[in-house]
Symmetry: C2
Subunit: 145 residues, 2 copies
DNA sequence: AAAATTAAAGACTATTTTGTCTTTAATTAA
DNA sequence: TTAATTAAAGACAAAATAGTCTTTAATTTT
């Protein structure tokens, strides 16, 4: 479905949302350990998500690290996909037609459309904060055992 | 969703199902032109789908080409995904957890599961022949204008 | 002001995916 | 049986993705 980069972005963001705040920033070492991802690669992804404070924020120096504002935590999960440039996945033709539409539908268009609508609904409805709370509760996980 | 290879595989297979038969084989040139894909790359993909006559069949020489048996045409679309080794996509964790399950669910597991079930249903239910017939009727297309 | 700590930046490498091109093998028609 | 036609095989090349490592900049603590 998504690229490895986006998978790490989703998990890292949820971890930072769950554990961090403006007062308590999280270091890259802790993040990559918590989600089970390569540290340097994850660093690069987080730097990218930090550009223009799209989704996450950061400060350098001692006691620095990554965190999210309350406003950012209340964004839908889709915001992470958009920041990673993978939100087009949610509207892409399943057979790869450059222009797949009602006028020019691929053979799976009409049935796959319904599935895409549900995916859009899922990523639009769920907020980062909601999912982060589920992690906190111990109901769900962001690292494989 | 799927790799370019699999997108081409889906479209090429539907074209061959629609236009070809044991009596009328289709050349690689015609296929790649009809679906708008790079010819040599498509050739490699079709060769792969021909291995062990998984989905499509072929013969070399004059009046040779690609075709599908009646039996193959009646396979579900999922057979193409399986042949391309991309059917695992239909069961993969959306956040990239190696082991995402009811016991160890990712934060999107329970809701994404429903979407996956529908995707599985779609690819399992639709047969290659059914979709090919829709192309023949002019209802749907496998090439972008 | 100096040392320590942290992310930012960017060069670099490795792997996978996508794609091309040439040679070979199979088959058929003349 | 020779020439023509087609896919098969496989070596290459290009581009995208994934990942590492080193240096720099920002910030804080001492």
């Amino acid at each position: 479905m998504f690229s490895k980069s986006t998978e790490y972005a989703l998990r890292a963001t949820l971890y930072i949302a769950q554990k961090g705040s403006e007062e308590k920033k999280i270091g890259i070492g802790e993040v990559s350990k918590a989600i089970g991802s390569p540290q340097s690669f994850t660093a690069k992804i987080l730097q990218f998500l930090t550009k223009d404070n799209k989704v996450i924020s950061s400060v350098s120096g001692p006691h620095g690290g990554f965190y999210m504002t309350v406003k950012a935590k209340n964004l839908p999960v889709r915001a992470i996909l958009e920041a990673m440039g993978e939100d087009e996945m949610l509207d892409k033709c399943v057979m790869g037609l450059a222009k797949c539409s009602e006028k020019n539908p691929c053979p799976l268009h009409s049935k796959y459309k319904i599935i895409k609508e549900q995916m859009n609904g899922l990523f639009e409805t769920e907020t980062i904060l909601q999912l982060a709370n589920n992690i906190k509760n111990g109901d769900v996980f962001i690292k494989s055992k």
